[in-house]
């Protein structure tokens, strides 16, 4: 056994993050580490890489007990890590990044030529032939990830931890990175793969370990594993709605509420028409870069449209700025929650009342009692898991942060809410809850525009699905037409098919 973890425990004030966890990694396997948020995946990895000191338990590498105190020490022992956010420096060259701290020297000075050829040799192993003297930042994220892997392997060479390495890659890039990972597996490395994408887990890994609430639940061969059973392990309960993709009920014709005609902006999105009925969910499907987010930004006035107009029953509405869009009763929960959605240093209460307060104007503060009532109300209604309303939102899990963002908009009672990737980076349980919330909102008469990369999710929530390709609305599917196959076909139509 390459890496063997026994009875690993780690507690934080108030929680037992890891409780006697066992984990084994063979040389030459890709081993998925799965679990919902809060299952203990990241704690386990941090104990392994020396970022946390463990309370109990042993970690053996090649049969030798180890106790790394820092990531650098873990690296030297043979455990390298590649995180979701690329953990190299974009302002240094590829060669500098690869050989940082181990630069070949001559007479005490860095030997540029030796460095270049060494860096090239390192990358050639991964089938990458690029100019190593260019800044790392000038390459795509996929290449940056491969460089990060190359560096981690060169430094460590025994165990490679991939912590959500594919979260910001598109399908083709994911394949590129996976090819590299498979090559390393065949070279005899032990690879731990953490991901939210179950497809990728089935595609890439040899075995799967599931953690839940800090405990080891099961370890199985991936090939023998059934998808539904895996999700049951992760959730710890039999599944009901979480992954059942029932076709939407066709709720008859509804009075059209919002008409967008000829909306477009040069270089961003071709002019399109869109009608959203009251209590209707319109889904936007398409590949990364197909114009989904751009559509949302146009509708919410983040970028002004060059052409077209928006109307409701009463006449023309002004959506030339987010402020105007909000005044018109629109809401927008953006894709990048961390930078665009939440104010991490403010409390849950402050994040919830933010929009409402902005609309009232800062000269008329919402009374504190009213704020508390609102916050408590939404924490209960949306089942936001927190120790209280005064907790910093940055300390919540992704799913709970997303619920707070939703609460902020719900407090303003918009008639039209745009949700851009509402379930990205959220664990399976919270995922199902967000979908349930969407259904509730629609029942209450709100209109929704939902953008998602997960086709199953769109199928589950949408009354109509609009498919985008190359910054153009190319198809509109309604009712019984909506299925994974029809959407895929519309996306694929002429372009390459998404793997």
């Amino acid at each position: 056994m390459l890496l063997s973890i026994r009875s690993l425990s780690k507690s934080f004030p108030g929680t037992r993050a890891l409780d006697g966890v066992h984990f084994d990694l063979r040389a030459g396997e890709v081993h998925a580490l799965l679990g919902e948020n809060g299952a203990g995946k990241s704690t386990l990895i941090k104990c392994l890489t020396g970022a946390y000191a463990r309370d109990e338990g042993t970690i053996k590498l090649d049969g030798v007990p180890i106790n790394p105190q820092s990531t650098v020490e873990a690296q030297e022992l043979g455990i390298g890590t590649v995180y979701q956010e690329v953990n190299l420096l974009p302002n240094l060259t590829v060669a500098q990044n690869l050989l940082f701290g181990r630069e070949p020297r001559r007479l005490g000075l860095i030997h540029a030529r030796a460095m270049r050829s060494e860096a090239r040799a390192m990358l050639r192993r991964y089938g990458l032939d690029i100019d190593v003297d260019r800044d790392l930042g000038s390459y795509s994220v996929a290449i940056q990830q491969i460089v990060a892997i190359a560096r981690a392997v060169a430094l460590s060479g025994k165990v490679l931890i991939l912590d959500e390495p594919t979260a910001s890659l598109d399908a083709r890039e994911v394949e590129m990175v996976f090819d590299v990972v498979r090559g390393l597996r065949d070279d005899g490395l032990g690879i731990i793969f953490v991901s939210h994408f179950l497809d990728q887990v089935f595609d890439l890994t040899d075995s799967v370990t599931v953690l839940r609430n800090g405990r080891h639940i099961t370890t199985e061969e991936t090939a023998a594993l059934d998808r539904v059973r895996l999700i049951e392990h992760m959730l710890g309960r039999a599944l009901e709605d979480a992954v059942s993709h029932h076709a939407p009920a066709i709720r008859g014709a509804r009075p059209d509420m919002l008409h967008f005609t000829g909306m477009g902006r040069r270089g961003m999105i071709e002019p399109f028409d869109l009608t959203v009925g009251k209590g209707e969910v319109v889904g936007l499907a398409g590949l990364l870069g197909s114009g989904r987010t751009e559509t949302a930004e146009l509708l919410f006035g983040i970028r002004s449209a060059h052409t077209g107009e928006a109307r409701d029953m009463a006449g023309r509405i002004d959506i030339t700025s987010p402020r105007a869009a909000i005044a018109a009763g629109f809401g927008f929960a953006p894709e990048d929650r961390k930078t665009d959605g939440i104010v991490a240093d403010l409390t849950i209460r402050e994040n919830i009342i933010l929009g409402l307060q902005a609309r009232r104007g800062w000269t008329r503060p919402i009374p504190r009692a009213e704020q508390n009532r609102l916050a408590d109300d939404y924490i209960r209604r949306l089942d936001i898991r927190t120790s209280g309303r005064e907790k910093r939102i940055g300390e919540l899990s992704g799913g709970n942060q997303q619920k707070v963002v939703l609460a902020r908009w719900l407090a303003m009672n918009p008639r039209f809410l745009i949700l851009d990737e509402p379930t990205r980076g959220i664990d399976v349980g919270a995922h199902a809850e967000i979908l349930r919330l969407i259904h509730e909102l629609v029942e209450a008469g709100m209109s929704l525009l939902v953008i998602s990369s997960e086709i199953d999710e769109l199928i589950a929530v949408s009354d109509r699905v609009i498919v985008l390709r190359d910054r153009r609305h190319v198809a509109e599917l309604g009712g019984a037409e909506i299925s994974g196959e029809t959407i895929m076909r519309a996306i694929a139509d002429t372009g390459e098919r998404r793997i």
Binding site: V72, Q96, N97, F100, G101, G108, L109, G137, S138, L288
Partner: protein, 324 residues
């Protein structure tokens, strides 16, 4: 080509263009005399700008250097007048003080996780105050060794004088280039400027690097003070007010990103010489007020900041394009 190197090329192009314009209008500006004077007059600024480049590359700033130069001049003058020590001994003492001063600021910046702006601002007042403490009046330096240093030059073809301090500045730039581009320490400095958290993950010893960066800047400020004392032949506590800002301007005009992580030592040399050239032009013209120097530097600085912003946008657009 790296887009990041573009500001450097632009700087060089502007410098060459400026010189051509000058030379067309005043052919005498192409002489070795003017070149010699350009190096001599800007020696102290160039040396301090080498230290500033490293500090800015690391993502920091050092506002204390102007005051340290003034302190150095007064220190040298007072020591020579009152103690009767040999100038070389005084120089060594001074360099130790200024290096330790810089290292101390670096230590505080790292340990207290304080913004470099505030710590070096305090350093600026401290050093200026220390200079006043030594003497509030201008102290002339009359030491035979000093006169030797002031008079040392090599005659270039065309009767231009390549002075000792001019050569010293060029040597310091060579040293700066080696430190920044050819050592692991230099790579660590770029790494810190690129992102502290990532740099730490990659194994940069942040504390050590920060202390060394400011110590280096302090040493350069001390050396610059020595050069300034040789240049002016006196020590005056009111001298070189605002030189830290001129040095920052030279670094930015030289194509270094003010937020750190990108830039070239050679660019700073061109930045210093460009600023010197503008001054020379105004002297040659004779009718222009010397304030025009400041206005032109202001315009140059602004256009470089805009250029960097533009390049950033372009490289982001290219990345996004490659993604679609």
């Amino acid at each position: 080509m790296n887009t990041r190197a573009l500001p450097l090329y632009v700087t060089i192009a502007i410098f060459v263009l400026a010189w051509v314009i000058c030379a067309i209008q005043f052919p005498a500006m192409f002489s070795t005399r003017v070149i010699g004077n350009l190096l001599t007059d800007n020696a102290y600024l160039g040396i301090v700008a080498v230290g500033m480049t490293l500090v800015i590359l690391s993502g920091g700033i050092d506002l204390s250097v102007g005051s340290v130069i003034a302190f150095s001049g007064v220190f040298i003058a007072v020591m020579l007048r009152d103690m009767g020590l040999h100038p070389l001994v005084v120089f060594a003492m001074l360099l130790m003080i200024s290096t330790a001063f810089g290292a101390g600021m670096g230590f505080l910046i790292d340990r207290l996780a304080m913004p470099a702006f505030i710590v070096t601002l305090a350093g600026m007042f401290l050093a200026r105050g220390a200079a006043y403490l030594l003497s509030i009046e201008s102290v002339p330096i009359q030491h035979p060794f000093f006169q030797t240093l002031q008079g040392a030059y090599w005659l270039m073809p065309g009767r231009g004088r390549l002075t000792l301090i001019g050569v010293l500045m060029l040597l310091v730039f060579v040293l700066g280039m080696i430190v920044a581009h050819k050592t692991r320490f230099g790579t660590s400095v770029y790494a810190l400027g690129g992102g502290e958290a990532t740099a730490r993950l990659m194994g940069v010893r942040q504390g050590r690097t920060t202390v060394l960066v400011y110590a280096f800047s302090g040493a350069m400020a001390g050396l610059s003070g020595i050069v300034f004392a040789i240049y002016t032949g006196s020590g005056y506590s009111l001298a070189t007010v605002g030189t830290e800002l001129t040095a920052i301007a030279a670094v930015v005009i030289g194509g270094t990103l003010l937020t750190g992580g990108a830039g070239y030592m050679f660019g700073t040399l061109i930045g210093v010489l460009t600023m010197g050239l503008i001054q020379t032009y105004i002297v040659f013209d004779g009718t222009l007020s010397s304030w025009w120097t400041k206005i032109v530097i202001g315009i140059l600085l602004l256009s470089f900041i805009l250029l960097q912003k533009l390049l950033l946008k372009l490289s982001q657009a290219r990345l996004a394009g490659g993604h679609a």
